[in-house]
Symmetry: C2
Subunit: 138 residues, 2 copies
């Protein structure tokens, strides 16, 4: 939502910049107006794509959705975030252990740390909070 607003703002600014160019071209040849507007449309399109791609690179860390700055703020490590994602997918500790090729004991440690850092008492609460913080996809 916030991203969408940003994109629109940027597009509006781009449009008004193009207006300055368009204005002078128009007084020379008003019959080519439709081409200028088409040009603006194309510019709009590519600027939108560019901004979108840029913000995605910055915000999307691998599979998940959290930005690295967001994770740093919470104190969540890369591995812990990985476990958190598997948690949200409904896996048991054993299953996550198998997925990440470590022991269940290790996952328990990770989960405990996640609960501490997210101030949750249960894995389900951790998932809810992570979703609230916009750390998870979907």
């Amino acid at each position: 939502m916030k991203r969408t607003i940003l994109i629109f703002s940027a597009l509006i600014i781009a449009l008004f910049s193009l207006m300055q160019l368009g204005k002078y071209v128009l007084v020379q040849n008003s019959s080519s107006a439709e081409w200028i507007i088409a040009g603006i449309a194309v510019a709009f399109f590519f600027i939108g794509i560019l901004i979108n791609r840029k913000s995605q690179q910055k915000e999307t860390l691998k599979a998940g959705k959290a930005s690295s700055s967001q994770l740093r703020e919470l104190g969540l490590s890369k591995r812990e975030y990985e476990v958190l994602i598997h948690l949200s997918e409904g896996h048991s500790n054993k299953e996550i252990a198998d997925l990440l090729f470590v022991t269940e004991s290790t996952i328990k440690t990770h989960v405990s740390n996640i609960l501490l850092k997210l101030d949750a008492r249960r894995r389900t609460e951790a998932i809810a909070k992570a979703r609230e913080l916009d750390l998870l996809v979907r």
Copy 2:
């Protein structure tokens, strides 16, 4: 992401529609070109907002999100759905029991039934599946 693409497509279409109007106005008075482009920009903006709002309205249905037909298909009762929502909020069985003024035993029964009906082995998996089925808000 898909929504963003949709918005852009709609905007491009809107722009080319406005082109038709703009073309005829321009041949009459080419000095007003800048106002026409400004109009297009404003139109863009409001169309974007409208589309965004519409897609939001479609996604957010009431407090819960599931349609009663969807619940009937899954065999989930009203009460079970209620428990499911509290589950997704990260509450323990005891907490849900207190929220609904019943015993923990009752909640255990409900949860067991929910797991059966959603074909899940853990409450976290039930939450994930419920989200997949679009039964939950957010």
